[in-house]
């Protein structure tokens, strides 16, 4: 599982020369800033993009997409990964790609269609010598600069369904609430099982076992409903609802690989749900989605009831539908 990151930069340099462009050094990501100990003030400082609008990635900054994405109020997302030249990527627990120190993950959240699309925030995960650091950057009105917003922010946006909402940019600590595992920040998205084999082949030069296991979200109407629902819960819930993470004390483990039905909620009583229980007795009642706390909390947009607690202010109706269909199809006990 080795990949060397010299090829793209070398190709870019070659191109520049053959095109007769002056022998300027090829644009480079600011490695020192990623690996350093400062909190850079603007997204532009990193040099991840060639343009101020952050549309054209610098050579070495590679776009990717996920089979099963995290729902964030319907935001359109643009994901990129950067690995320093000559460094290796390995495979870890849950098939999570293990990026070397100096790597960065970049994710931009935008609302609106076509020319009217506006970037709201870009979240950056930096792998430094003492661990990952998560930082949120908020875009300006002119859409030419994103500024560090440690305390987060709120922005009025219109969702794809036309709802006017106050969209929450998480603060730096809240980044960790989802990205925290055993007290340390960790990436959660780029797992081989949630990435296409083709992308992995081009990125790693190899397709690891278990690649592309999660069904594609777009195929949810025809794909196996259990697989789709479990993948959805894995991606949208299991970063907290798993041992060692933010919601570990609930005892609910919604990871894709969890096999014990009670652990992923079947006939499991709530622990600290409070009014989140909605007066219901179990997380999942087989055959009865309406009696299942899981569905009740997913279908709520009320703080204190709604799940996930962060990064969601409207109900993801399509997500609820998949989980309802899955629970409804379970044999009643």
């Amino acid at each position: 599982m080795i990949r060397h990151f010299g090829i793209l930069a070398a190709a870019a340099a070659t191109l520049a020369i053959t095109a007769g462009v002056q022998a300027l050094p090829p644009p480079k990501v600011n490695d020192a800033l990623i690996a350093g100990d400062t909190l850079p003030k603007t997204l532009g400082d990193y040099g991840f993009f060639l343009d101020t609008a952050a549309n054209d990635p610098t050579p070495g900054v590679v776009p990717y997409r996920l089979n099963m994405p995290l729902f964030s109020d319907g935001a359109e997302k643009y994901r990129f990964v950067y690995v320093p030249e000559g460094e290796d990527v390995r495979l870890g627990e849950q098939s999570l790609l293990q990026f070397p120190v100096g790597s960065a993950l970049i994710k931009t959240f935008a609302f609106g269609e076509g020319e009217n699309q506006r970037k709201i925030e870009t979240r950056v995960l930096l792998h430094r010598a003492d661990g990952w650091v998560a930082l949120p950057y908020v875009w300006n009105d002119d859409q030419n600069e994103a500024t560090l917003a440690l305390a987060g922010a709120r922005r009025e946006v219109t969702t794809p369904q036309g709802q006017q909402i106050s969209y929450r940019v998480p603060n730096k600590n809240q980044c960790k609430e989802c990205h925290g595992l055993q007290g340390a920040v960790t990436p959660i998205g780029p797992k081989a099982r949630n990435l296409s084999a083709a992308w992995l082949q081009s990125f790693l030069g190899d397709v690891p076992e278990g690649a592309e296991t999660l069904p594609l979200w777009e195929h949810r109407d025809t794909a196996d409903v259990a697989a789709t629902a479990r993948a959805y819960l894995d991606v949208n819930c299991a970063h907290c609802h798993r041992p060692g993470a933010t919601a570990s004390n609930s005892g609910l483990d919604l990871r894709w690989e969890t096999e014990a039905p009670q652990a992923f909620g079947v006939n499991k009583r709530p622990v600290a749900a409070g009014r989140g229980s909605g007066g219901l007795m179990f997380d999942i009642v087989p055959g009865d989605p309406e009696a299942s706390i899981l569905v009740y909390r997913m279908a709520s947009d009320e703080p204190g009831v709604a799940m996930p607690e962060l990064g969601k202010s409207i109900v993801h109706e399509d997500g609820v539908e998949v989980v309802e269909r899955w629970i409804g199809g379970m044999a009643a006990q």
């Binding site: 440690l150 305390a151 987060g152 922010a153 709120r154 106050s166 929450r168 603060n171 730096k172 600590n173 809240q174 960790k176 609430e177 925290g180 007290g183 041992p243 933010t246 570990s248 004390n249 005892g251 009670q262 006939n267 499991k268 009583r269 709530p270 622990v271 600290a272 749900a273 409070g274 009014r275 989140g276 229980s277 909605g278 007066g279 219901l280 007795m281 179990f282 706390i293 009320e302 703080p303 204190g304 607690e309 962060l310 202010s313």
Partner: protein, 402 residues
């Protein structure tokens, strides 16, 4: 001599970092961002000071830096007001170690009040969490909510209106809850799936149930026990249960004083218990069926020492209460047991001879109360002393009290 001096200087420098800062935050515009940014940038030794006034907040706050103090000008002076909260599951979330929270209030959070998770050696002193509309099922679940932590000192805290437990300590170790007031919550104080806890000198009133010591199945941390409940005033816990169904406390009967469910080694003594009309003291097994091979649903080694009590269950919330009252001469004796034991006559429950009690005499766990065959309590007297030297919050936390 010189060498000794150098060592002393080095120690002093380590103990109080020269760079420790005090950051003062005033209420007013952008309080959310200013306070949250201070919490994020804080480093060990720093103090974040809330000026007197009302901080209007729209989102949960969080602290993830070790060794930080967050303090205000008093639990009625500096108020974090979450009435307009739009997001997050609690008012304030602490996820770092050695944090001190002192002299401020949290009002009307949408979910829990102050949650500290995996936050070892935390001190909560003179902090108030209030749902100002009084008891309501729409209030958040827990007021003060440390969980999965070792070293918890709660002193002089006030919580009211929680739709689950006012002060809730879960899945933790080395805990002290004292000098605090828990009123008009479903449960006043709850110690759940935890070890080595001391609950003392609290005033617990107006709740559905006063002090609960619970051990539940299906949780990552199991086998709670070693809990001492002493010198508390537990009175007038007569508020109708307003917990949302599904939560374990929704099953607590109004008028319960001190309740022990499952657990290993609990001592309840020297408390004053008045007007807890279902049962001043209740000891039961986990009542429901469960599927957790590592879980023990029975109470073990539960000692009820001398407590000052009134006549007991004068208006119990039990099926067939009238018949029970008639049978026991107008009031159920103060100590109630369900009669369930891991092994018969195994010293499950020991009671001071002056404490009267009764038993449901159930014979099977998880089968409900249908088979109850109520009768006078017939158990042994409390035995010898228990070593509690390593119960309660670690001594080092006391130094952070002011």
């Amino acid at each position: 001599m010189i060498r000794t001096l150098l060592v002393a200087t080095a120690l002093a420098t380590f103990a109080s970092p020269a760079l420790a800062e005090t950051i003062t935050i005033a209420p007013g515009e952008d309080a959310q961002e200013r306070l949250q940014e201070a919490l994020i940038l804080a480093e060990a030794g720093d103090e974040i000071v809330l000026e007197a006034g009302r901080f209007t907040l729209t989102d949960g706050l969080s602290l993830d830096a070790d060794g930080v103090t967050l303090r205000g000008a008093g639990m009625h002076a500096s108020v974090l007001d979450f009435t307009g909260q739009q997001g997050a599951g609690e008012g304030l979330l602490v996820t770092s170690d050695s944090v001190t929270l002192r002299d401020f209030a949290v009002e009307n959070p949408k979910g829990d009040g102050i949650k500290s998770k995996g936050a070892d050696d935390i001190v909560y002193q003179r902090v108030r969490v209030t749902w100002t509309n009084g008891p309501a099922s729409t209030n958040g679940a827990y007021g003060v909510y440390p969980v999965e932590s070792t070293g918890i000192l709660i002193d002089g805290v006030e919580v009211s209106g929680a739709s689950d437990a006012g002060i809730y300590v879960g899945q933790s170790n080395r805990i002290t809850v004292r000098n605090s007031i828990a009123s008009y919550n479903v449960a006043g104080i709850e110690i759940e799936n935890s070890r080595k806890a001391i609950v003392e000198r609290n005033y617990v009133t107006g709740n559905t149930g006063g002090i609960l010591v619970f051990d539940l199945p299906g949780l990552p941390v199991k086998n709670g026990g070693e809990v001492l409940v002493r010198n508390n005033l537990v009175a007038n816990n007569t508020t109708a249960n307003f917990a949302p169904e599904g939560n374990i406390v929704a099953s607590v009967r109004r008028g319960t004083g001190i309740m022990v469910m499952a657990n290993d080694t609990v001592w309840v003594g020297q408390n004053m218990l008045y007007d807890n009309p279902t049962a001043p003291i209740m000891v039961i097994a986990y009542p429901m069926p469960f599927d957790d091979p590592e879980y023990n649903p029975y109470p073990r080694d539960i000692s009820i020492g001398f407590n000052s009590v009134d006549e007991g269950g004068t208006d119990p919330r039990f099926e067939g209460a009238e018949m029970l009252l008639a049978a026991f001469g107008g009031a159920l004796p103060p100590v109630m047991w369900d009669g369930l034991e891991e092994t018969p006559d195994s010293g499950t429950l020991m009671v001071h001879p002056e404490m009267k009690g009764w038993s449901l005499n159930l014979t099977e766990q998880g089968k409900g109360l249908d088979a109850a065959n109520p009768g006078p309590l017939d158990v042994g007297a409390i035995g010898g002393p228990i070593d509690i030297s390593d119960w309660g919050a670690p001594q080092a936390l006391e130094a952070r009290l002011q």
